[in-house]
């Protein structure tokens, strides 16, 4: 008897998760470089029931094979990242840098548990962070991870007057009216973007590529820095489509109600059985 209830309860739980996911997307609709996550449903196992002992009579006039198959609800399939680029928003802040091409990534050095690893991000809101010796500074992301240039972390003396990022990724600083190039942003292109692992905070990393039989160069390739690769003074907006998210939210809510209705109907049927005696 409780089968419709279980189907509905399982599905409501999954719908709740979908709403959580949409909530997360909505909360990040203003987060720089955020890639929206999406998930669709998938049906759960179907149970085969022998509905009639007398198979010969039962087989008469049937369209489908013997027995009946009753489903057990739906579940949320694994979430996927929507990697389409977001809109470019002018900020006029010289250290804000937007990547102009899909699948291009900045490299950053992330140290976790004493191990430093190169990771990748599209979030180009950079900052200058003092190194502690009172003289030099470091170009970092907003989480404080050093941004990598062609010669490793971009470190320079702090007595500069102005810093700019050129369209081809060159970082130039002006000291006493003299402009010099200190490094180039080491921008890479993900040739196999589906291999990258999202680790949160808009950061991606390489999985254990030895197991997969790939070389780093198969997945990540440096971008030739000529022409217009980045746009300074601008940021890539989140690619969350608010209208779409709201529509999905409404659909999920209504489905939630439908399933709740299933439970109450099933409950009333149980009550009718109880009233038999």
């Amino acid at each position: 008897m409780s089968r419709p209830m279980i189907q509905a309860a399982v599905t409501m739980n999954q719908l709740q998760q979908k709403m959580d996911l949409i909530g997360n997307n909505l909360a990040n609709s203003q987060t720089t470089g955020y890639k929206s996550r999406l998930a669709h449903f998938s049906s759960l196992l179907f149970q085969h029931i022998d509905n009639m002992q007398e198979t010969e009579v039962n087989a008469e006039g049937r369209l489908t094979p013997d027995g009946i198959r009753v489903g057990t609800g739906a579940r949320l399939a694994p979430t996927m990242l929507d990697l389409t680029p977001g809109a470019i928003n002018e900020t006029d802040r010289s250290l804000d840098t937007a990547l102009l091409t899909e699948n291009h990534l900045f490299q950053i050095a992330v140290t976790e548990n004493g191990i430093t690893e190169t990771r990748y991000t599209r979030d180009g809101a950079f900052y200058i962070s003092p190194l502690g010796d009172g003289e030099s500074v470091l170009l970092t992301t907003k989480d404080g991870y050093p941004v990598l240039g062609e010669n490793g972390p971009i470190e320079f003396a702090n007595d500069f007057e102005d810093i700019t990022v050129q369209p081809d990724g060159q970082i130039t600083i002006t000291r006493d009216g003299v402009t010099e190039t200190i490094d180039n942003l080491a921008i890479v292109e993900a040739t196999r973007p589906n291999i990258l692992e999202a680790v949160g905070e808009n950061i991606f990393r390489l999985p254990d590529i030895d197991v997969l039989g790939y070389d780093v160069n198969d997945i990540i390739q440096p971008v030739a820095l000529n022409g217009e690769v980045v746009k300074s003074g601008a940021l890539e907006q989140s690619n969350v489509d608010l209208a779409e998210q709201m529509t999905d939210l409404l659909t999920a809510q209504r489905s939630y109600q439908f399933n709740a209705r299933t439970i109450s109907m099933s409950d009333q049927m149980s009550s009718l059985i109880n009233q038999l005696r």
């Binding site: 509905n51 739906a74 059985i273 038999l276």
Partner: protein, 267 residues
């Protein structure tokens, strides 16, 4: 015992079963490629009723001969005969995810014909699906959202190498200079397939015949063909039928009450 007792009970049981199928449809109203189940009811096999009586033959001492006369057929209940999925094309929704594929049926030579993607399940068997929400796994293979390999025409998993790919309208996946035709299968009788869950169908399906046309849309998904309003109406109907049968059962119970407690009461 009153025969109608179990007839009414069978009515309740079959309405419950119907409710299960409809509740599952409602639950899957958002599942891509889901095909709505439609339960059908059928009367129990007919019984031939006979009356047994006796015929008095006027002889000297009087002779009673037992006779049986047919009364007529009777069905003593109802059961869910079949649950038939409705294989109609679902709406196509744009998702812009390059790994989402949708089959759009064109002309099918058979009324009950159907086109499917071919996938491989965990035991290595071939299964069919309409749920084109695919993804690329950590090894670069194209898989369903449950991780089942999507197969090409040679019956092999499709290696995308983790690269972006294009799928043409006739179902050829183009990646890294290679053209890999997806295995699109056709069956002339979709009702012979059985649902297994995870959007998979088991059964036999062959190559797409010359007369059948279709197109594969990349960045689109086929939505569930469940009509929530219709399903809700059917559920309400099933609920009321359940209630009616319960009332009949109670009426029988009252008759039984009379038979047990009132007949031959000595007061």
């Amino acid at each position: 015992m009153l025969r109608g007792f179990y007839t009414a009970a069978s009515g309740m049981i079959s309405q419950q079963r119907q409710q299960e199928a409809l509740a599952n449809n409602i639950a899957n109203a958002n599942t891509p490629g889901y095909k709505a189940d439609q339960p059908t009811l059928r009367a129990f096999p007919e019984l031939l009723m006979r009356e047994t009586g006796s015929q008095n033959i006027p002889t000297k001492y009087g002779l009673n001969v037992p006779v049986e006369n047919p009364v007529g057929p009777l069905n003593t209940g109802v059961y869910v005969h079949e649950i038939i999925p409705n294989y109609d094309q679902g709406d196509i929704r744009e998702t812009n995810q390059p790994t989402d594929l949708a089959i759009v049926n064109g002309v099918l030579p058979d009324e009950a014909g159907g086109l499917f993607f071919t996938v491989q399940n965990e035991t290595g068997d071939v299964r069919y699906t309409r749920n084109g929400q695919f993804t690329v796994d950590g090894d670069g293979f194209l898989t369903t959202s449950q991780g089942y390999y999507v197969l090409d025409e040679m019956g092999n998993p499709i290696q995308t190498g983790g690269m972006d790919f294009d799928v043409t309208e006739d179902g050829v996946l183009q990646v890294d200079g290679q053209a890999i035709p997806l295995d699109i299968r056709y069956t002339d009788n979709v009702h012979a397939l059985t649902k297994e869950g995870d959007g998979l169908f088991a059964g036999d399906a062959g190559d797409v015949p010359a007369g059948a046309t279709f197109s594969i849309r990349q960045g689109f998904l086929e939505r569930s063909n469940v009509d929530a309003a219709k399903t809700m109406t059917q559920m309400m109907e099933a609920y009321r039928m359940f209630e009616t049968n319960q009332r009949v059962l109670k009426a029988h119970d009252e008759s039984m009450d009379k038979a047990v407690n009132d007949i031959a009461r000595i007061t």
